[in-house]
């Protein structure tokens, strides 16, 4: 059989990638394209007609100050969370690959927060912030301490803390794989050549782990930008709407305020921003990657 014919290749493709391609189209590509169409309508989500309104939704999205505030908030949240997640994950990974006693137990322990669903996790932490912390603080100060979740800065802090707690363990696993992929021979050679362990880490191990960094930063950025579940269960946007993240604003715009087209347009803008940030970061990261 000639392996170079078109029909052979089509068959091959369909056999191996067909089911996945069909599913991908059905649940991602088609809704995405349909979503773009909806941004040009003033549909409310339920009426039978979807009147076309041209670019009005985009104009409204750019004029929606609440949306841009939410986006700004999301950016601040993401910057803090991404930096903290990666620093902590890196040190955790270093810790559990350095041969401490019971390191497999620690690996499992640090990873567990990631196995708890975001909604549950939000409620658990809400209890911790509203009751446990308040009780401890009241006992210490002998006064009536208020919850961190009651102030706008405090609510953001809580969101970041929970994100770090949730994702650090997951990113740790990727860094662990990175640490393991660096050959011991290289580290040993550096030490023999007179590097201190810190120098060996900085000049040999970390450059060789660049791929792990690129991956972890990409994953944490994209996840932080579209955070919704923890936002919903932990703060629900409160106090005074000062912890509404972009995704929550989009949901409210589309479903609660029934501006489906506008919500969809704002979602698309969020997607574009997310994609641009993610791709830029991967591009910069990959450019300097060292081939081991």
């Amino acid at each position: 059989m000639n392996k170079n014919t078109l029909s052979y290749k089509v068959k091959q493709f369909l056999m191996f990638a067909g089911p996945a391609a069909v599913l991908f189209c059905a649940v991602v590509i088609i809704p995405f394209v349909y979503g773009i169409y909806l941004t040009f309508t003033s549909w409310d989500g339920i009426s039978k007609t979807k009147p076309l309104v041209g670019g009005a939704n985009y104009a409204a999205a750019f004029a929606d100050t609440d949306y841009w505030h939410a986006l700004g908030r999301t950016a601040i949240y993401s910057i803090f969370a991404v930096i903290l997640i990666n620093i902590i994950a890196f040190f955790l990974a270093y810790l559990v690959t350095s041969g401490v006693k019971g390191q497999n137990f620690f690996r499992a322990g640090f990873f567990i927060p990631n196995l708890i669903g975001g909604i549950v996790l939000g409620y658990v932490w809400k209890f911790v912030f509203n009751r446990a912390f308040v009780a401890v603080a009241s006992a210490i100060s002998r006064g009536n301490a208020s919850s961190l979740l009651a102030t706008s800065g405090g609510a953001m802090f809580c969101l970041i803390l929970v994100a770090v707690w949730q994702y650090a363990g997951y990113m740790m696993l990727i860094y662990v794989a990175g640490f393991m992929s660096v050959s011991d021979a290289l580290k040993e050679a550096a030490l023999i050549d007179g590097c201190t362990p810190a120098q060996a880490m900085w000049n040999v191990t970390i450059p060789l782990m660049r791929a792990s960094f690129v991956q972890c930063i990409f994953l944490s950025i994209t996840r932080c930008f579209v955070v919704y579940d923890v936002n919903l269960s932990l703060t629900n946007g409160e106090p005074y709407g000062s912890s509404v993240m972009a995704a929550m604003h989009v949901y409210r715009q589309a479903f609660t305020y029934k501006n489906y087209g506008l919500g969809q347009a704002e979602a698309l803008i969020l997607f574009v921003i997310c994609a641009v940030v993610g791709i830029t970061q991967v591009y910069i990261g990959k450019k300097g990657e060292v081939a081991a």
């Binding site: 078109l6 290749k9 089509v10 493709f13 369909l14 067909g18 391609a21 069909v22 189209c25 059905a26 088609i30 409310d44 989500g45 339920i46 009426s47 039978k48 609440d66 509203n130 308040v134 009536n144 301490a145 208020s146 919850s147 979740l149 009651a150 102030t151 946007g237 409160e238 106090p239 005074y240 709407g241 000062s242 409210r252 479903f255 609660t256 305020y257 029934k258 489906y260």
Partner: protein
């Protein structure tokens, strides 16, 4: 080049297959799955606290009447949930929605119920134009919930809620309670729906013509900060706010805790509605609780009325997915709820709701409902204003929260609400 063409071809093939798949899905979306024994209807319930009662009753009803009744519940926003059902071509036969949803949905999606028997027995049905679309499930009203046992225990005298009419009266009883040892006699729910959709809404609702009042704010002819009603109600709100047990941390007060304190008599007053009974009765509640109007000084008699009316409405789907037999079965079900003894008992006794029908004279089970029924029977309810925009409760709720937390003063609050109305539009009606 050749590679590219192949790529395109494979993509097209994949797309065609996908389209085939989609078409396959689109065909078989009829709801219910009719059994051999006649009609089946589906009911969407958006009142969580009656879900288990409704499921049980539906099973009984199915057996008795030979009409299959399936009950669904979703904790999602009502409009969002119905939107997904309509997009997937699987509308419910009967959907329970909020009043504002009837205005936005009914003309396209609801069956005209004008000739139904129950229409004559209620003042709360929703009509658009000359057609009746919404079947009121119950009456709910807002006001101040009091715990008379707690008050009498501290003051040592009988408590008559009717004696508290003005902000001054209210302040006086609170001072008495404080003097008697109740450190902080009130609770304030920080939830945006309570602050904005319920309390702030009273500012609009207690005007004779809420439409004109809102239009006045919008065109600037009414300065909210100078409005008598706004100030009268906010004065009372200040009393609630200043004597709040969680005054220092008003924004982290949890609803359950507040209601528990009220139920157990640790505090005496909270602004709320008769639906709060579903929370209060989970605790060790006092026997003598009830609801009274929000005291205020505007002198127009609103301090002798609760605010409320029909709450939660059934409509019957009019799309071609619902057969005439199903529509008839749904109409029968509504009539059964309103007129049949068993249906009436179900609403009042099993679900503990305040009936919206004058021919349903069963005594209401819970104390808050009793107060509501009393005011409703005396025609002392200020009507709900059902046309606030969908984002009103969250945007103005955030402003009310800032006020509650002391971040802004009353002028700041009035500014933010006025700013909100400069772009917001009331719903069509």
């Amino acid at each position: 080049m050749k590679r590219n063409i192949k790529k395109v071809v494979t993509t097209v093939v994949a797309a065609v297959l996908t389209a085939g798949l989609m078409a396959g899905c689109g065909g078989g979306g009829a709801s219910g799955g009719s059994s051999d024994s006649g009609t089946n209807i589906t009911i969407f319930n958006s009142k969580m606290e009656i879900q288990s009662q409704l499921e049980e009753k539906a099973a009984e009803y199915s057996e008795e009447k030979g009409v299959g009744v399936e009950v669904y519940y979703s904790s999602d926003t009502v409009a969002a949930h119905l939107a997904t059902r309509y997009s997937s071509n699987e509308p419910y036969t009967l959907s329970m929605v909020d009043a504002k949803d009837i205005y936005s949905l009914a003309e396209e999606h609801a069956v005209d119920l004008t000739g139904e028997e129950w229409v004559a027995n209620t003042t709360q049905a929703i009509s658009i134009g000359d057609k009746v679309y919404g079947f009121p499930v119950c009456i709910e009203a807002r006001g101040i919930i009091y715990n008379a046992d707690a008050i009498e225990k501290v003051t040592g005298e009988a408590f008559d809620p009717k004696s508290i009419k003005t902000t001054e009266d209210f302040q006086a009883i609170i001072d008495k309670l404080i003097a008697g040892g109740m450190a902080a006699p009130t609770g304030v729910m920080k939830e945006d729906w309570s602050l904005a959709a319920h309390f702030l809404a009273e500012v609009y609702e207690q005007h004779d013509d809420p439409d004109a009042f809102i239009a006045g704010i919008q065109d600037g002819s009414i300065k909210l900060i100078d409005d008598e009603k706004f100030n009268a109600l906010m004065d009372t709100f200040d009393v609630l706010k200043d004597n709040n047990y969680a005054k220092d941390a008003a924004i982290s007060a949890e609803r359950e805790i507040t209601e528990q304190k009220l139920a157990e008599g640790e505090i005496a007053f909270m602004y709320g509605g008769n639906w709060d009974w579903a929370v209060i009765n989970a605790y060790d509640y006092s026997e003598n609780m009830g609801m009274m109007p929000v005291p205020n000084d505007s002198g127009d008699g609103t301090n002798e009325k609760l605010v409320g009316g029909g709450s939660k409405y059934f409509f019957i789907d009019s799309s071609d997915k619902t057969t005439p037999e199903q529509v008839q079965a749904a109409k029968d079900f509504l009539n059964w709820l309103a007129n049949d003894e068993e249906g009436q008992a179900f609403l009042v006794n099993d679900c503990a709701l305040v009936p919206a029908y004058s021919n349903n004279e069963l005594p209401v089970a819970d104390p808050l409902g009793k107060s509501v029924k009393e005011y409703a029977d005396a025609d002392a309810l200020v009507a709900n204003y059902n046309y606030l925009p969908d984002d009103h409760y969250s945007v103005c709720g955030a402003s009310m929260q800032k006020y509650l937390a002391g971040e802004i003063d009353r002028a700041g609050l009035a500014d933010e609400i006025t700013k909100y109305w400069s772009t917001a539009q009331v719903g069509a009606h």
